[in-house]
């Protein structure tokens, strides 16, 4: 790659980085909005690798259980795929999924522009 080409690509890379950061920021805001809606009742300290077993599912608030159950069925999914099953808004599912990640029940990984959520059962998704 010539020096000129590298210079030409740079603004695109910067823009892409800004877009990614904005997306992450947006997800965090969605989580905060959702937490406020539920009056902070479900705010738990962040945990690592908390098992998402059936007794845990039973004790969850209804709105989180629906998301967690759907993800258990699908195995690995984006917020968009979950929202198609639950018929709730993508932003709402995104907030619930991120909340479940913060609680230690789910894992999240990025594949390009998409964020995938999954239950870690055997050291992998």
């Amino acid at each position: 790659m010539t020096g000129q080409e590298a210079l030409g690509k740079r603004p695109l890379q910067v823009l892409e980085k800004i877009r990614e950061n904005l997306e992450r920021l947006n997800e965090k805001i969605e989580v905060m909005i959702e937490l406020q809606k539920h009056d902070h009742k479900d705010v738990n300290l962040p945990l690592t690798d908390a098992p998402l077993d059936v007794m845990t599912l039973l004790s969850m608030p209804d709105h989180l259980r629906k998301t967690a159950m759907t993800l258990c069925r699908l195995g690995r999914a984006t917020a968009d795929e979950i929202s198609q099953q639950t018929r709730r808004a993508r932003a709402v599912e995104s907030a619930y999924l991120n909340q479940l990640v913060n609680m230690g029940y789910l894992k999240k990984e990025r594949d390009g522009r998409k964020a995938y959520f999954y239950v870690e059962r055997d050291g992998k998704g």
Binding site: P51, M55, L58, R65, M69, C72, G75, V119, R121, D122
Partner: protein, 259 residues
């Protein structure tokens, strides 16, 4: 690949309500209707299908599949020859050895979470790849991990209940606090019922059930001495296809087929 088959969990609040009797005979009836059926013994605390179906030599048990030690193909036993004319019958048995029961009772939450994943995977491996029409899961009574795992994995939950007061109370609680929370399609089968010989008696029973449970009634099974006399040694609907019990199971299977 996702199949069109259904997973049915047979559960109850108390023991002795007839879950195993219903599971075995429902599976056999569906086979007689030409279906490809898998019957699972998920009662790891008191396994009974190995004895009931007289299957002794086993390489792999359902315990091993849930432990991740083998795939489901090695657990399934083909018992199609036990049913004259029909589809296919496979069973997956719980290990009845005392050591195995002890081992299953001592599992932690993380293991139970993995076991749920293994049960959920059956939708692809059995209903999908093997084109199984019905996976019937016989479970332990009450709030046991293995039973709730089965309920979460199932499309339909059949709740076997009797007229026993504590069973009625417990079943009502489970409807509200277990099946409803998981948004499961729940159907009641009232077993060991007295006084249903007349049509008026049947109507009263149906009205009572609707009032008490506020859930659909899938079937009413009277207390049959002939069933008790068989002492769990046989697949009743296969031995006595013309018996009223077999006809009731026929009706239950047909209803499930339309769900």
């Amino acid at each position: 690949m996702i199949g069109l088959g259904k997973i049915v969990a047979v559960h109850s609040y108390k023991g002795g309500t007839g879950k195993t009797l219903l599971s075995v005979n429902l599976a056999a009836t569906l086979v007689k209707h030409g279906k490809r059926v898998c019957l699972f013994d998920l009662d790891f605390r008191a396994p009974s299908l190995a004895t009931l179906l007289n299957v002794t030599k086993k390489e792999c048990w359902l315990n091993d599949y849930l432990n991740g030690a083998c795939e489901i193909d090695r657990v399934l036993v083909d018992l199609t020859d036990r049913i004259r004319n029909g589809g296919k019958l496979f069973v997956a048995l719980a290990n009845p050895a005392t050591e195995a029961i002890r081992d299953m009772s001592a599992k932690d939450r993380k293991w139970e979470m993995k076991a749920l994943g293994r049960l959920l995977a059956l939708r692809n491996s059995l209903l999908g790849d093997k084109s199984i029409d019905y996976l019937i899961m016989d479970t332990s009574p009450g709030l046991q991990y293995s039973s709730i795992n089965a309920i979460v994995s199932a499309d339909i939950v059949i709740v076997a209940t009797t007229s026993d007061k504590s069973d009625v109370d417990g079943t009502r609680r489970m409807l509200r606090e277990l099946y409803d929370l998981f948004e499961k399609k729940t159907e009641i089968v009232l077993n060991k019922v007295l006084d249903v010989s007349t049509s008026a008696g049947k109507e009263i029973t149906q009205a009572k059930v609707k009032d008490i449970y506020n859930a659909p009634l899938l079937g009413v099974v009277p207390c049959f001495c002939d069933v008790l006399r068989a002492r769990g040694n046989t697949i009743f609907v296969e031995e006595k296809p013309e018996h009223p019990f077999s006809r009731i199971l026929d009706g239950i299977a047909s209803q499930i087929d339309t769900m």
